[in-house]
């Protein structure tokens, strides 16, 4: 538990799973959840580097900012999704293609 690589591996797993989710899911909300996983992986890395880099608190700050961004992103994304749903009656990202050429 006192090894950097352990945390990095866990973060790598989370990241890979998040990417997989984003690539494969068709439901917008599910895609969003994949993004949350990716963000958590990144956050975990930040904090881990902070801990093993001499308890430098800068990493924590970045982590905080990422959390805030995630919150903002989630709020906006969900608002968009609900809008799409209200207009198209679906939340599948492929179906929302009226802006496609």
């Amino acid at each position: 538990m006192d090894q950097l690589t352990n945390y990095l591996f866990i973060a790598a797993v989370l990241f890979s799973l998040g990417v997989f989710g984003v690539i494969t899911r068709r439901n917008g909300i599910a895609v969003l959840m994949g993004v949350e996983l990716i963000l958590n992986a990144a956050n975990l890395n930040f904090v881990a580097f902070s801990r093993f880099g001499g308890m430098n608190l800068d990493g924590h700050i970045f982590g905080l900012i990422v959390i805030v961004l995630a919150a903002a992103e989630a709020a906006v994304a969900l608002a968009i999704i609900i809008n799409i749903y209200n207009n198209l009656n679906t939340i599948n990202v492929d179906d929302a293609s009226s802006m496609k050429q």
């Binding site: 990417v19 984003v22 690539i23 895609v31 990202v93 293609s97 050429q101």
Partner: protein
């Protein structure tokens, strides 16, 4: 009193200006259109001048002189001082200006009554008096030049007083421009003197001339330059053309400016700067003056317009004065200026009175086509206008040079000086010929004027009943000035009608010229004195010859004027048409000048600008078209669009990868990333 002279001068100078300002801004709103403002201002001026005159007479000091200056411009090195120079000449001139100006103001009360620009007229008179006094009082060339030009402007404004008439407007412009020609010479003279001496003050300049800071050709040129100014203002040949035209102005103005004072400014200036005229310059002065005297008299002989006769007579008399300056007897010139101012102003007032009467008579008959100034329409006015007749007769006798009258004294002094000059420089015999010839002609044409106007049968009998003597405002000045044409006023305290010896000759004594090598004034005076009797007898003889001729032709009709006209055909035509000066100036000076101006303007605008400057524009335009073509067809169509077409083709190929599905892209990205790292790793 002498200690107050500077203050007096200030008042004399600025009171008329104050009247001018008041009249311009308030004139129309004041009761009686403010004429009383002008009259009281000029009246005070006259009183102050007379006080100064009386003081001068009581102290009886020929060397009196008082000067005051102040710094007007001071830039460190370059500075200009302005100031007053008050000596006996100044005081006499101030009295002349104030006196004639006052008479004119009073005369105008009636003459100009009911004029649409009545207050404006008085305002301009004030401006004129101010600037004329400025010339008189100046102790330096700059303020003299400034006043000089201002006089020109007031003359312009007054000649053009009835500007609705094109002739009046033209005459004003002509007067100003002709004067400007002279002024350019004046200014060049000033610059020559300043460059050499470094000061504008008369005293400094004279000193500089005396020590030889400027001499030889330069001094002559400077003198001629200054004299050119005098020629313009005093209407000397060949710049004489403006004065007869200036008669378009109101007659009182003609009396004040174009007879007595303004035109005399040239003479006054020549008298002032006489000490710096080099002998060569003086010769130029003498010939111009002498020629003008005879030349103008010969024109006056045939004129029929009463004011034109007087105008040419003025030109001729001014020529006399200039001649006197040129021959060195400049005090005689100034003396003639003084006497001439009185009798010529009087003659103009007289003519004004006649014209006034004619005008009213014609007005009553509703006749607007007959020229009220043409002597051929007059005749027999003697009984109808006795005051006018007698006063004019006195002045005519004076101008003709008949003993007992002022003109005799001054003219005699001039002729004596001229004769003496010719005796000592026999090469210049022509000068006295000019002088005596002009004297004979003067006597002739003046009496011709008198006879045609007042004697004989009325030419227009239907008018004669309506011709009346003018009111007191007009006859008052006539009587005053006529009485001042009697010799006694000039010879006191002596009573010899055949000698000019009097207060004037005692108080105004010629000083030596400052030009090294000139004849001393004492010697000139001696020469003139020796020539005095010869000149006197000759001048009396020619005067009576002229008068006799006039009597025989126009009164007794012994000779027929018509026959003379026939036998002198060409000469008569030339004289009648003023030797075609106006026409020739028009043809050889003005017209070519305007053509030049139009050519230059055409060159500037239609050639230089249109073709040369805009040519740059056209060339650039052409160049830009060429480059534009190259740009479009070569670079744009070939290179740029070629690239575009290739890209278009490739895009068509690769577009199949574009699914528009974000997740596909993400997959590609991830896959690409991995492939890249694999390549990197191995």
């Amino acid at each position: 009193m002498e200690q107050y002279f500077i203050q007096f001068s200030l008042l004399i100078l600025f009171l008329p200006l104050a009247a001018f300002v008041v009249q311009i801004f308030l004139g129309k709103r004041l009761p009686r259109q403010g004429d009383w403002v002008s009259i009281s201002a000029i009246g005070i001026t006259l009183i102050l001048s007379l006080i100064m005159f009386a003081t001068m007479l009581s102290s009886y000091d020929s060397g009196f002189s008082k000067e005051a200056s102040f710094t007007w411009i001071d830039m460190g090195s370059f500075s200009i001082q302005l100031g007053f120079l008050i000596d006996n000449i100044t005081i006499i001139m101030l009295v002349v200006v104030a006196l004639i100006s006052t008479c004119t103001h009073i005369f105008s009360l009636e003459y100009m009554a009911g004029d649409i620009r009545y207050s404006r007229y008085f305002a301009y008179l004030g401006l004129f008096t101010f600037s004329m006094n400025g010339i008189v009082l100046a102790n330096n060339l700059i303020s003299m030049y400034m006043s000089w030009e201002l006089v020109g402007v007031s003359s312009y404004l007054l000649i053009g007083h009835w500007f609705e008439k094109d002739t009046a407007a033209n005459a004003g412009k002509k007067a100003f421009l002709t004067n400007r020609v002279g002024d350019i010479g004046f200014f060049i003279g000033i610059m020559l003197l300043y460059t050499a001496v470094g000061s504008f003050m008369f005293s400094d300049i004279f000193e500089g001339v005396a020590v030889g800071k400027i001499s030889g050709t330069m001094l002559t040129l400077a003198g001629v330059g200054l004299f050119l100014g005098a020629m313009g203002k005093s209407s000397q040949f060949p710049l004489h053309i403006w004065l007869p035209d200036a008669m378009e102005g109101p007659t009182p103005v003609s009396a004040l400016m174009h007879a007595a004072t303004m035109v005399a400014a040239g003479v006054y200036m020549s008298v002032r700067v006489f000490p710096l005229f080099s002998p060569d310059a003086l010769l130029v002065v003498a010939y111009v003056g002498g020629f003008t005297a005879l030349f103008a008299a010969s024109i006056a002989v045939t004129q029929t317009d009463i004011k034109k006769v007087l105008a040419y007579s003025t030109v001729s008399q001014l020529g006399y004065m200039i001649l006197a300056v040129g021959t060195g007897v400049y005090t005689a010139a100034f003396f003639h200026l003084l006497t001439h101012a009185m009798f010529k102003a009087n003659l103009f007032y007289g003519s004004g009175s006649v014209i006034h009467a004619m005008h009213h008579a014609l007005h009553k008959k509703h006749d607007h086509n007959t020229d009220p100034q043409d002597m051929r329409n007059m005749g027999g006015f003697k009984e109808k206008m006795p005051v006018t007749y007698w006063t004019m007769l006195v002045s005519t006798l004076a101008i003709a040079g008949v003993p007992l009258f002022s003109g005799f004294l001054s003219k005699d002094a001039i002729l004596a000086g001229t004769l003496a000059f010719a005796q000592h420089h026999p090469a210049h015999l022509l000068l006295p010929v000019f002088g005596f010839g002009a004297a004979a002609l003067t006597a002739f044409y003046m009496f011709r004027l008198m006879f045609l106007t007042f004697h004989g049968a009325p030419q227009m009998p239907e008018l004669i009943d309506d011709i009346h003597e003018s009111p007191k405002e007009m006859t008052g000045p006539l009587v005053l000035l006529a009485s001042l044409s009697v010799f006694i006023f000039y010879t006191l305290p002596y009573v010899d009608p055949f000698s000019d010896h009097g207060w004037f000759t005692d108080l105004v004594v010629a000083g030596d010229s400052f030009v090294p090598g000139s004849i001393p004034a004492r010697e000139i005076a001696d020469h003139a004195h020796h020539a005095h009797y010869t000149a006197m007898y000759t001048s009396i003889a020619v005067a009576f010859l002229g008068i006799a001729l006039a009597v025989m032709v126009y009164l007794r009709k012994v000779f027929s004027a018509e026959n003379w006209v026939k036998s002198f055909g060409t000469l008569y035509d030339w004289s009648r048409n003023k030797y075609y000066f106006d026409e020739n100036y028009e043809r050889f000076l003005y017209q070519p000048f305007f053509r030049l101006a139009n050519k230059v303007a055409w060159l500037d605008w239609d050639l230089y600008d249109k073709y040369f400057i805009n040519g740059f524009g056209r060339f650039t335009d052409w160049l830009s078209r060429v480059t534009g073509r190259f740009d479009f067809e070569g670079i744009d169509q070939g290179l740029v669009d070629g690239t575009g077409r290739i890209v278009n083709y490739l895009g068509g190929t690769f577009r199949k990868l574009q699914t528009g599905r974000l997740q596909n892209y993400l997959l590609y990205v991830t896959a690409g990333l991995i492939i890249l790292t694999i390549i990197q790793a191995f």
